[in-house]
């Protein structure tokens, strides 16, 4: 069948929340470790800023949220790279988490499909 949907399984979503403007560093780290792409959006974070008292001024409320989809084989390396690049071991730097993805679908180049599943895409 011509338009058979190819589901990709074994995918993980890594989300990293950092101070606005530092998202680019996170994306770069993720890409050098094999992430295909990233999605960034802007958000406001609430929580530690209020509980830190006056020190809270050092925590920006404006955040970049970086979403990266990776194959599960890569999730730990990418996650670690992101953790290091965003310096998440510092207070107030942000957080990152991994969400398992049940399945995803997107365009996969035919050349790659044929290489993986044999000619004709039959598996």
């Amino acid at each position: 069948m011509k338009d058979k949907i190819t589901y990709l399984t074994d995918v993980a979503l890594i989300t990293c929340i950092v101070t606005a403007g530092r998202g680019d560093a996170v994306i770069q780290a993720a890409q050098t470790m094999g992430a295909a792409g990233a999605l960034v959006y802007h958000a406001r974070g609430i929580g530690p800023r209020e509980r830190l008292g006056l020190l809270g001024i050092a925590v920006e409320a404006e955040k970049d949220v970086v979403n990266v989809l990776v194959a599960t084989d890569y999730q730990d390396v990418v996650f670690e790279a992101i953790y290091r690049a965003a310096e998440l071991n510092r207070p107030g730097a942000g957080m990152a988490y991994i969400t398992p993805i049940e399945r995803m679908a997107t365009f996969v180049p035919r050349e790659i499909l044929e290489r993986v599943t044999g000619p004709g895409g039959q598996s």
Partner: protein
Amino acid sequence: MKDSVRYGDYLRAIGAGRRELSANAILPPARRDVNGRPLPPPAPPPIRLHPDEIAGLLRPYVSVRFMDQFRAVVPLALYLALFQILILRQLVDDSWLITAGLFAVILGLMFFMEGLKLGLMPFGELIGHTLPRKSSLPLVLLITLLLGIGVTFAEPAIGALQAAGRNVSPELAPYLWLLLNEWTGALVLVIGASVGLAAVLGTLRFLHGWSLKPLIYASLVPVLGLTLYGAGDPELAKVMGLAWDAGAVTTGPVTVPLVLSLGIGIAAAAGRGDSGLSGFGIVTLASLFPIIGVLLLAFYVAGTVTPTEILAIAAMAGTDMGALAWYERSPGVELILGLRAILPLVLFLFIILKFVLKEELPRPREIWLGIALTLIGMCLFNLGLTYGLSALGASAGSLVPAAFMAVPDAEGSPLYLYGVGLTLALVFAWVLGFGATIAEPALNALGVTAEQLTNGFFKKRTLILAVSVGVACGIALGVTKLIFDLPLVWLIVPPYLLATLLTLVSSEEFVNVAWDSAGVTTGPITVPLVLAMGLGFGNATQAVEGFGILCLASIGPIISVLLTGLWARLRAGLQERTDRRDPSTQPALDVQSPL
């Protein structure tokens, strides 16, 4: 036994430096009441950090802000110092003191900007949002006027203007000396009132959606008229530079955001917030009105005091110099100036909040910390201004003329042939203007706005480049004025007439961006540096006064941006015309291509 291991599992298995911890373990256990229903957990206690964790929290916060100011100050300072050492072959006097001063400027600006963001800005925004809903329009406009005066006192660059007055000689320019030394209070008040008036008019413009063009024409007529009138009097002509520079000085990092936040708040309350152009215009008017104000003040002074009386006052002031109280001497006076700049503004905002709006401060501790930071920053900045920026600018200004003429302080001057030296001095001024402008953070913000406003038609880079070239040409022209002692009127009036003409044929968006770019370029680093350099230059070349460079630096970008806008529109028009002529061939291609 498995014969293959997934790479991911392998990585997870060998991963060192990881450990897993249940999130439940770091939170208090969930409680339930007798019926088994969950109870809300107690309010989380404040987070306590160890000193090293606090250091980790503050390090990036401080370093980002420090580097922002560092990048703005150091290249310029290095350029000035290297030019002196390499081209003029003179050592920078008191280099350690100047370095310490520049460091104080960087720290001061860092504290000041952060304090502004944490303290004064939320204050201003709160008032801007709530005031129009709770009070009548006349009261709102009155408060806007008073706020305009308050922010002018708080503007760091105004201090530079006052500092510059110490170098003016009472014999050569009596009125200028009087205004800058004995009448400083009145001078700043007049400038402040003009800014306030501009804010009121700008707010009315928001509310009624007036076009900026007629406002520009209407304010240019008295500006140019008074200038031409004053130019007829040889004594008054010397005040002209100050008056025009005052306009450029006012629109700095305190005035622009505070007045804008109030104006936008008022416009939003009236339901006219988002025209895209609403933010513009106030800056333009705030840089034109002070010229009128200062000129009128100068005329008033000239009408009441004669030059001989001024000389008597100056002689008396000279004898007093011996015994100055601590608060009138160098380290003390800067601190007092800093306090005097910020405290009245804070008090004014606080009184409005408490008694007119009857509101409480949100996050009061943060806002008070911000105000304290603003105070510390202002005092540090003032100190650094005296010992760092002004000293560096003055020394560069007094030494650059050594390139082409004999200057007593510089050995072996003139260093170069007259023509070569003159070219060097002008190139120096041009590059200084270009470098100072292209690094100005406010310009970047304007560029982004302009790009959005014109739907990407006017690129950010184009705008920054156009403004920088305009400022550079303006500063070079200003230096030419000082070298040849040209009357400022003939340098100022024709460009403004040209700008008026260009305004007439340009579209509303470009007019807004262009006139505002003039005010935006003159920030807290450029102003003192250029002012001090101009005065030093003026002293070395025996010009009567060293003002006027700044105002030429603000007309430059107006013209260059308007011209760029016209050129871009012309090019777009030509493109459209060729596109319209082309269609005869276009369909033919479409038919052929599938074949």
